[in-house]
Structures are given as structure tokens and as C-alpha cells.
């Protein structure tokens, strides 16, 4: 029986039955086959689940719960482990340096590799001479790429310029790699590879690339494969020159509305052109792998946020069975969306390992990281909003352009489409190809950009309508979560003391601003977990899911511990390995919402097996037993005569076999999805996440320096599993948002096409001294759609920050910032009513 079928069989078993393979008559098999073909709804029972926002509005609603899933959890306040502030189970390993990251992997005979990359932004390679490198004493293998991953690819391959090697389309594009016995030797040998280029005309500036006659990035329409986490805009979009689009859309992915009509209905119209810069992911740990090719298969230690997606991509490239590829990510130092795929470095390291017959380590340096591993596209957004005098929105019209370099996916329309009620919404998003490294998904793709425009214009609308920005949002925003978040945040920040714009006297002016987020309930159904119990009472959880840094290890431990009446530290976690049941990729803030229900369901199945085996010893049936505080007992007061109990350990010792195990995968949401993509097992859940941030700034009008002094971040993510880890995520999101608003900027030199600041010295990221007081507040919002009701926070937490800062700067100075980063020079120029020079990190 395949795993899938086994799941199906257990899905249909009654809740109290022991799992495993029941004896099945032949007829039943036929029956099951028919049923499997029809894809019936799994057998369910009706159950009341808590719904609403704690402290605001709570009720119970009925949901159809699959029979083999555990009963719904009560509110967090009634739980022992879930919802408690649990320190990371692996925190100690991390702070003591004991945790092994990809760069720490040392295999016997391991070689070190270095990529050869192009210094030219656009070129045809005439020849590559590797003889000098080959002659280097310490060199063991050299490989030249015949296909570049990450760049968009021509729809019609015959349109490509004739060339022996892949065309170079950005400075920093990988061409080859060299493996040697030491890193220094690999670095040295990489310099010995002689590449002769025929430089071609290039364009790195988005505005220039849009002009007629601009050098073409692709000689025909091109699409970026979204498979392994490219930014990946929609495929098949019409393209003219370097401009791909526009993609027209309306609210919630529906067709565009009639904005002409909407503007006619408006009493007030506000508009503006907003610009955002390219931001690189700059995770602390750079991309990299150790690839170990053996005749029987490939093992790759990879810094990835998708062990499964890396496995799949490598299996495809090297024509291996998926079972022959094992990807391991025990610990990783951040990805932010840029680490789903195998990457050119991963393919190169694998080729080198195959050629050299030895493991090969290829870690990128910071420069490669900035140039070739992804970024958040820039944007120029023309946004227009119409409203009636009472605030009702009649039209939202967004036209946006952005460059994802040689990739696609620079759209910004998410917030405009999904945040507010409005009768006519139309968005037009275009990608502009430039000769720059391809973008990759980046923490809420498109949303920080989109919010920067939308939330400033909503504030401007409030000012025009002479209403408080919060009151206007109360009127046009239908999200209950955000309404509550605005109320709580306003109270905490003491919003009522907010003064009129530029009311402060002296040189330093202070202000308060607000902005909000919208994000989606995305679910990866390929989320599986196995839980094992061994006779000595030890419990293990196994899943391919990797901990990108959000703390999923700890959340999984909590969920299993809660179900089994244990402590999180009682659970041994084995994750980040494709040898285990398939885990979801960590993107779209999906991990917790995807995998924790699978973990709880698996733990529940395991519990039923255990109870079945120990019930006789407690003189009862399994359904009369409970497990809590490390004890298995009859569900009676301990004072009762019939009360009987044994410790969890004693219960485990009664197992008939040395070990029992149970497996579960993520089921569909209770009540289903808005839509479901069968091909990649992806569900788009009903409802959205919110998040509202309040920011206090001080603007020095002599130097133009903006200082963020305080951030109050109020967020929702369903049922919070571990508020401590969630706060860390929010802190990180806020800091990355501040950094985006004020500092980070990838600068390309228009004359050479090269990045001017490919390091962390001149590519500035907010540091500890820029860290304001951050107050995080989590509301509990229950929607009762799965067995944990948990959601994600990684992305929502960074969406509104830049917009809130801009609104605060306006409140401080009376001057609106239409462009980020808000560098001192930009701010000073804006205060003087001018515009600062473009393209400098001033």
C-alpha cells in the first residue's frame, strides 16, 4: 500500500480505532479504489470550534472535522503548552555555536569551490580557457554551466543569440566553478580561468529600460520559472521591448473594476507617484551547499528554506530519482524567500562533486550573495484613490512598474487589491527586464512596496476629508482583526496626543504614523509528520520541514507535547532532512499553518494507539482515558474511587512492540479553500491576516536624519503557538522594515552596470543602534479551520513598517516622502521642496 493510500485508509477509520492496516476484504479494496478516483470528502463529524477574537468578539461555529483528526483545541488560556512563551528548544545549541550550519559541515576529503562570474552586465562568451586552472596543483575539478538557473528564459528558444555558452545577462552571473583542496587555492584557481567576452549593450536603470530603443535584455518574450522559488510572475504575459505586461486585475484576484466610473462617483481624489528601491535579502548566512555525489545517490547539505524543493530541482537536473537525492538542512541562518531552489551554486557544486569523486563545499561570499541570489524588485507606482465625502472608497487605480532584473514578479498590487472595501479597483502591473540579477521571492513579495504607496495615500485622503486616519480606516476596512489591532495600538501609543503635521518648534521634529498590512492564509498540503514512541517513553518527531529561523522546531515540540500531555523538551525533533516525511517549504508564512496540524494529527493517532494498548491495565476503554502532566489516567477526579493512573513512561513500557509510530499529512482546511492548486498541493485559505503598526519618529531638520524611536506592532496570526518566537519574528520584521525604509539600497552604476556597494560596508542595514523600542502585541484570532488553527507572521510583520515611518515623517514635518530609502539627503531635499540626486546612498 502506498503512503497516500494508507493515509486514505486511516482517514476513513473511526476515531477510536487503532490505526495500522485493518484486514481488508477484496471488495472493500475495489470500493476504496473507486472512492479514491472520485476524491470524496473525507468522512467528517460536526464539531463546535471557537471562533473570533479574544477580548473582542468570541463565538462558536460548527465545522466538519475529518473523523481521524483530534477534537478542536480550546482557547490558549486553557492549554498547558501551546500559547505559552517557550524558549527555543535549540536556542542553547545556537548561542553556544554547537548548532551545525551548512558552512560548518566538514566531510572527509571535502573540496572547496569558488564560482567564476561575469564582470559584464551583458555579454556573449567567446571562449573559456581552463587550462591554467587545471594545471593548478590543488585543483580537482572544473565545471562550466550550460544552463543558468534563476534568469527568465525565452519562450521561443530559437530567438536566442547564437552562442556556445549561456548569454551573460547581469554582472555577477555564474559561469563556471573550480574545486580545489583549500578555499584559498579555489579562489586563486578561479582567477586563472580565462573567459573572453564580447560585451553587449546593457541597461540597468528601470526608467531607461522602459524607453523605446533601450538595449534588450531578452531578444523575445521570456518567462521565469516559478518552480524553485524564483520571484516568478505569471507566465505568458505579453511583452514589448523590456516591458512585460501590464497584468490587469481587480479586487481579490477578480477582473478589473471600472475605475473611470469610480472616479466620477468620487468627491475627493488623491494621487501620487511612489518609488521604492531594490533591497537584497542579505540573510546572515549566505547561500551555499556541501554536495556529496556517490554512485548510489546524492546527499546535499544546503542552506535552504525548502529541503523538498531543492531535492526536486537537483533530481531533475541530474536525472536522478527523488529517492536518490537527500537534502539536509539541520540549521540555517535565514533566507527571506531567496533560498528555495538548488541555485547555480548548488548545481555547480554537484557537478564538481560528481567529477572529482569527493564532497564539495561551495559557500557564496557577500558579493555573490548581493549580485546573483535574488532581491526585492524596485517599483514606481502611480496610485490614485477616489472617495465620497463620507470616506467610502469609489475607486483605486494602481499602475506599477518594477524591475526584477532578469527575472519577473515585480508586482505591487496585493495591498491595493485586498486591503480595503472599494467598489471599483483596477491594478496594472508591469515587469521591466534590466541587466541585473534576478529577483527572488522576498518577505511578502510586492507588499512592502504596495503598502508604502497605499497607506500613505489613505493618510492623505484622511487629511483631505479632515478625518482621523484611524477613523477613516475603521470605515473602509472590513477586517475585524485590524479593527481590534487599531484600537489596541492607538491606546498603547496614545494616539490622541498626535499633533498636526510639523507642529514641533525646534530643529528636531517628532511625529506618529500608522500603517497596516494584509496577508494571506496560504497552506502547503505537502506537509507531513511522523511521531514515534519507543518503549522507554521517548518521543520523536520526524519531518523534512526546515527551521528557517522562525522556530518551527519549538512549535512542533509544543504541539506534540500538548497532545501527549508532556513537556516540549520531552520531544526529540528530527527535521530538515528529506529522508523524513515531506515537509513544506518555508515561504508565504505557511510553515506553521501547514505543518502544525499534521503534527497534532499524527500525535493524536499515536496517542490513540498507545491508549488502546494500555486501556485494559487501567480497567477501561481508550475513550475514557486522558493524558496530561506526564500521566495517563481515567478521565475522573483523582479523588474518585474509580480513578486509576500510570505515568507516561509506565504506559510506554506496556507497548507490545519496541516502537509505535503514526503519520499524518495536512488535510484541507475545514470548509475548504478559496481555491486549491492540485498540482503543487497548495491551498489558498479563506480570510486574510492583518497587522497594524504605529511608529514614532524624530526628524532632524538640520541633517535630514530620521530616527525611529518607537514601534508598536499589533498583529494576528490565528492561534499563537509560541508568543516568544512570534515576538522575535515581529521584531525582525519591524527591523527589516526600518532598514528598508531608511538604509538599504542596491546601487548599480549606470555606466558599468556593476553594483557599487556589493558588501555590508556600503550596503547599509539597520544596526543595533538604530533599533527603537519595539512593543509587540499579539491578538488571538480563531477561525477554526484546522486542528491547530495556527498561522504565520514572518511576512505580515514587515509589510507596513516603511509606510508607517513615512506617515510618521509626514506628521513630524508636514512633508510627504514619495521615495525610499528616506536617506538624510532625500529628507533634507524634500524639506527644502526639492528632490535629491538619484542613485546615491546619500
Amino acid at each position: 500500500m502506498s503512503e497516500a493510500q494508507q493515509d486514505k485508509a486511516t482517514t476513513n477509520a473511526p476515531a477510536s480505532a487503532p490505526t495500522g492496516e485493518p484486514p481488508v476484504p477484496k471488495a472493500a479494496v475495489e470500493e476504496a479504489k473507486k472512492a479514491a478516483n472520485k476524491k470524496p470528502e473525507p468522512a467528517t463529524r460536526a464539531q463546535l470550534v471557537p471562533a473570533g477574537i479574544v477580548g473582542a468578539k468570541m463565538s462558536e461555529i460548527e465545522r466538519a472535522v475529518p473523523l481521524d483528526e483530534p477534537p478542536p483545541l480550546p482557547l490558549n488560556s486553557e492549554l498547558k503548552v501551546i500559547g505559552k512563551r517557550v524558549p527555543r528548544v535549540d536556542g542553547r545549541l545556537k548561542v553556544t555555536g554547537a548548532a551545525k550550519y551548512t558552512a560548518d559541515v566538514r566531510l572527509p576529503g571535502m573540496l572547496f569551490a569558488r564560482m567564476v562570474t561575469s564582470p559584464h552586465p551583458h555579454a556573449r562568451i567567446r571562449s573559456i580557457d581552463t587550462s591554467a586552472a587545471e594545471a593548478h596543483r590543488q585543483v580537482r575539478a572544473i565545471h562550466i554551466l550550460d544552463r543558468v538557473l534563476g534568469n527568465a528564459e525565452l519562450r521561443d528558444k530559437s530567438k536566442e543569440l547564437p552562442a556556445k555558452f549561456p548569454i551573460v545577462r547581469f554582472a555577477g552571473q555564474p559561469i563556471a566553478a573550480v574545486a580545489a583542496t583549500t578555499q584559498a587555492a579555489a579562489d586563486e584557481a578561479a582567477r586563472l580561468v580565462k573567459v573572453v567576452y564580447e560585451p553587449l549593450p546593457f541597461v540597468v536603470d528601470m526608467d531607461k529600460a522602459r524607453e523605446a530603443g533601450a538595449p534588450l535584455v531578452f531578444p523575445g518574450p521570456a518567462d521565469q520559472s516559478g518552480s524553485a522559488g524564483g520571484g516568478g510572475g505569471p507566465a505568458g504575459v505579453k511583452q514589448k521591448g523590456n516591458v512585460r505586461g501590464p497584468v490587469r486585475s481587480g479586487p481579490h484576484g477578480q477582473p478589473p473594476g471600472d475605475v473611470e466610473k469610480g472616479f466620477k462617483e468620487a468627491d475627493v481624489i488623491v494621487e501620487g507617484e511612489f518609488r521604492t528601491q531594490v533591497q537584497t535579502h542579505s540573510a546572515l548566512e549566505t547561500h551555499g551547499v556541501v554536495a556529496d555525489w556517490k554512485p548510489e545517490g546524492l546527499t546535499v547539505y544546503s542552506s535552504t528554506q525548502g529541503t523538498g524543493s531543492v531535492r526536486d530541482e537537483l533530481a531533475e537536473i541530474f536525472k536522478l530519482k527523488k529517492s536518490q537525492v537527500r537534502v539536509v538542512t539541520e540549521f540555517m541562518g535565514g533566507g527571506f524567500g531567496a533560498k528555495f531552489g538548488a541555485g547555480n551554486y548548488g548545481a555547480l557544486a554537484t557537478h564538481l562533486s560528481k567529477k572529482a569523486g569527493a564532497p564539495v563545499r561551495l559557500m557564496l561570499d557577500r558579493k555573490d550573495e548581493h549580485l546573483s541570489t535574488g532581491n526585492r524588485p524596485d517599483s514606481v507606482q502611480k496610485l490614485r484613490i477616489g472617495a465620497r465625502r463620507d470616506g467610502t472608497l469609489t475607486a483605486i487605480h494602481l499602475q506599477s512598474y518594477g524591475t526584477a532584473g532578469t527575472g519577473t514578479g515585480a508586482g505591487t498590487a496585493g495591498p491595493a487589491q485586498n486591503m480595503y472595501e472599494c467598489s471599483h479597483i483596477s491594478t496594472e502591473e508591469s515587469d521591466v527586464f534590466t541587466h541585473a540579477g534576478p529577483a527572488a521571492a522576498f518577505r511578502a513579495p510586492g507588499h512592502p512596496q504596495g503598502c508604502f504607496a497605499l497607506e500613505q495615500l489613505i493618510d492623505e485622503l484622511a487629511e483631505r476629508l479632515q478625518v482621523d486616519p484611524l477613523a477613516l480606516r475603521d470605515k473602509i476596512d472590513k477586517s475585524d482583526a485590524r479593527r481590534e489591532e487599531r484600537r489596541i495600538g492607538a491606546e498603547r501609543v496614545n494616539w490622541s496626543r498626535r499633533h498636526a503635521p510639523s507642529a514641533d518648534k525646534g530643529a528636531v521634529k517628532r511625529g506618529i504614523g500608522v500603517a497596516q498590512a494584509v496577508w494571506y492564509r496560504l497552506i502547503n498540503l505537502d506537509s507531513s509528520v511522523e511521531v514515534r514512541l519507543t518503549r522507554d517513553g521517548s518521543v520523536e518527531l520526524l519531518s523534512g520541514v526546515q527551521d528557517i529561523g522562525g522556530g518551527i522546531r519549538t512549535a512542533l515540540a509544543q504541539v506534540v507535547a500538548e497532545e501527549l500531555g508532556l513537556k516540549p523538551t520531552d520531544i526529540t525533533l528530527r527535521i530538515g532532512d528529506t529522508a523524513f516525511p515531506n515537509g513544506p517549504a518555508s515561504g508565504g508564512s505557511m510553515t506553521t499553518g501547514s505543518i502544525t496540524p499534521a503534527a497534532r494529527n499524527a500525535a493524536h493517532k499515536l496517542k490513540l494507539q498507545l491508549l488502546e494498548q494500555v486501556a485494559p491495565a487501567l480497567d477501561t476503554t481508550p475513550d475514557h482515558l486522558v493524558m496530561r502532566d506526564g500521566v495517563v489516567s481515567r478521565d475522573l477526579p483523582s479523588t474518585s474511587k474509580a480513578y486509576k493512573s500510570m505515568t507516561f513512561k509506565q504506559a510506554a513500557a506496556k507497548l507490545q512492540t519496541e516502537q509505535i509510530a503514526a503519520r499524518a499529512s495536512r488535510n484541507d482546511d475545514y470548509g475548504g479553500f478559496v481555491f486549491k492548486n492540485e498540482k503543487d498541493a497548495f491551498g489558498f485559505g479563506i480570510g486574510t491576516y492583518g497587522g497594524v503598526q504605529f511608529v514614532e519618529v524624530a526628524v532632524d531638520t538640520e541633517t535630514g536624519i530620521v530616527k525611529v524611536e518607537r514601534v508598536v506592532a499589533v498583529h494576528d496570526c490565528g492561534r499563537p503557538i509560541n508568543p516568544l518566537a512570534l515576538e522575535s519574528q515581529i521584531n525582525g520584521g519591524v527591523l527589516q522594515g526600518i532598514s528598508y525604509a531608511l538604509y538599504e539600497n542596491r546601487i548599480l552604476d549606470r555606466n558599468t552596470g556593476k553594483m557599487v556597494n556589493p558588501n555590508l560596508e556600503q550596503y547599509k542595514i539597520a544596526g543595533s543602534r538604530e533599533t527603537p523600542v519595539i512593543e509587540t502585541i499579539l491578538i488571538e484570532e480563531y477561525v477554526g479551520r484546522n486542528s491547530t488553527d495556527a498561522g504565520g507572521i514572518g511576512e505580515p510583520s514587515t509589510i507596513p513598517t516603511a509606510a508607517a515611518i513615512a506617515n510618521a515623517v509626514y506628521n513630524a514635518t508636514g512633508v510627504r516622502m514619495y521615495e525610499i530609502p528616506m536617506t538624510p539627503a532625500h529628507v533634507l531635499a524634500a524639506l527644502k521642496g526639492g528632490a535629491a540626486k538619484k542613485g546615491v546612498n546619500a
Binding site: A507, E702, N759, R769, A825, L828, K837, A842
Partner: protein, 289 residues
């Protein structure tokens, strides 16, 4: 890309005499390596052209802070952390302490030296404006002996100094400022730590009878070298500080400095902020703050 390490040489002289002998015997061949916080950045970027270095960090002759009633003298190897911890410096040389506090981050402050900051001769360095405003002198030593030069005369052009290839910076001597002196320093960087200045200012002045008796103004990042603005000082000298003198000082400063566009800032921004910072200092003097 990081430079090829085996391509470099680093020796560790036993004492100062041996170090100076190296410089004497092969002039220009060897360069000192102090904290390495400037040199390693070049190395990491593959831009460290010079190949032969000798360490000076272990030489006690270049360490320590001495005080007399007239002066405080700092060894070239004095680190930013040592500056910040020194009681007299904290009391009497707040601008130097502030520069030390705002240089790099803690690791850089533990490792980077004043001598390295001076010898590296970057126009964007943070301690030099303070040292210029304190009227510091430098002791340059070689196998042939020692000489003192006024720090104001040390920098002659972009990355050019009066130091000979066989010399080292040994000590930095600052006259102790009078207790009446007003000091004001301001670094404007992209971030509050780990950021090279967009502009950096140090000003020291003494007022007598409502008039400027003595004034020294120094800027970083507004010219090919760190600069004392003597012409602007002359405009202010002997004057009362009022709106008119501030205006005159601003106009003079605007022609005395020549900032440029670079990756950290623009000429226009630097000029505007330099004028604003000068005005801030003068307003404080006028208000006797």
C-alpha cells in the same frame, strides 16, 4: 573577492629598533600593520596592493597615555576603547572620546588605533577633526631619529602626508584645552554605528567678553583631506556672534570647503549640512551653552 593569503608576508619585529631597521634597510618595501582594521578591509576586497607588512601592535614604545600639566600624549597604538576609558580624556577631550565612541562598532573600537586612523589618511576619518581642533602634534620616528610636526600640516593631499617611507607615527600630543573652551562635535553618518561619516565636525572656541577669542573649526569628508577651516575661523575671530557673523561665517565656509559626490553622500548634501552644523555650533556659543 578575498585576496590570496599565501601571496602576503607579515613579520613580527622583536622591538621598535628592529621595526625601524626594516624601514631603513628597504625603504618603501615594508609597511606597518597596527590593528589591521583598514588593511583587512582592503585584503578582503582583494584590493590590498602592498604585499609586505610588519606588525607593530606588540611594541610597548607606541602604547600608553601620558599626562603633564600642559599636554596629554597618546601612543600611536592607543585604541578607541582606551580613549573612551581614560579619565582625563573623558573630562577634557570630549570630542576625541565622542569620535572614539562613534567609530565603527565595539570590535573595531577594541582593535583600531589612533595612529592607524591618522596614517591611513582618509578624508572621512573621525578622530582627525577632533585632533585638528585640539591643535595636536605628531611625533614621527625613524631609525635616524624623531621629529614633531603640527597635525595641521600633516596631510598634504588626498591620502598624501609629510611622513617619509621610513617613518612611523609614534605619538600624538594634544595641549590641554582651557576649562573655558567650548567644544562641539558632530558626526553625520548613515547609521549610528558602523558607518563612515558623510560629514564630521569638531569645533573648539573660547569667548572673552562676548567676543570670539580663539576658535578652531575642523571638518572631515568635505575636502581631499580632513581640514582646519582657517579662513572661516578668521571671519569669526574677535567678533560677537550674531545673525550677521553667522551669515558671514556660512558664506566663507561655503567657499572654503569643496565636498564631492560619492557612494556615501552628495556634495550638495554635505555642503548644506556642514553649514547647518557650523551654525548650530555658533548658536550654542552665542547662547553660551
Amino acid at each position: 573577492m578575498r585576496a590570496y593569503l599565501p601571496g602576503y608576508e607579515l613579520v613580527v619585529p622583536r622591538d621598535l629598533a628592529e621595526a625601524l631597521a626594516l624601514l631603513r634597510d628597504e625603504p618603501g618595501a615594508w609597511k606597518p600593520f597596527a590593528g589591521g582594521t583598514d588593511l583587512m578591509v582592503l585584503f578582503e576586497a582583494g584590493r590590498l596592493a602592498h604585499r609586505k607588512f610588519f606588525s607593530i601592535l606588540q611594541l610597548p614604545e607606541l602604547r600608553g597615555v601620558e599626562e603633564t600639566s600642559e599636554h596629554v600624549t597618546l601612543g600611536a597604538l592607543t585604541t578607541y576603547t582606551e580613549v573612551q576609558r581614560h579619565a582625563t580624556l573623558r573630562r577634557e577631550f570630549p570630542m576625541l572620546c565622542r569620535a572614539a565612541r562613534e567609530t565603527g562598532g565595539v570590535a573595531i573600537q577594541n582593535r583600531g588605533t589612533l595612529g592607524g586612523n591618522i596614517a591611513n589618511a582618509s578624508p572621512a576619518a573621525d578622530s582627525p577633526p577632533a585632533l585638528l581642533a585640539y591643535d595636536a602634534q605628531l611625533e614621527l620616528i625613524s631609525a635616524a631619529g624623531s621629529r614633531w610636526v603640527a597635525y595641521g600640516d600633516f596631510h598634504t593631499g588626498y591620502k598624501q602626508t609629510v611622513m617619509r617611507p621610513d617613518e612611523l607615527v609614534a605619538r600624538i600630543r594634544c595641549p590641554r584645552p582651557s576649562t573655558n573652551a567650548k567644544q562641539y562635535a558632530r558626526k553625520v553618518g548613515t547609521r549610528r554605528a558602523q558607518a563612515i561619516s558623510k560629514i564630521c565636525f569638531a569645533g573648539l572656541a573660547e569667548m572673552f567678553d562676548g567676543r570670539v577669542a580663539e576658535i578652531r573649526l575642523a571638518f572631515g569628508s568635505v575636502a581631499p583631506t580632513v581640514v582646519r577651516c582657517r579662513r572661516t575661523e578668521a571671519v569669526l575671530s574677535g567678533q560677537k556672534i550674531d545673525a550677521a557673523t553667522i551669515r558671514a561665517a556660512r558664506s566663507e565656509l561655503a567657499v572654503e570647503i569643496a565636498p564631492i559626490d560619492d557612494v556615501r553622500s552628495t556634495a550638495g548634501y554635505r555642503l548644506r549640512v556642514a553649514l547647518n552644523v557650523l551654525e548650530e555650533f555658533l548658536s550654542r556659543l552665542a547662547a553660551n551653552e
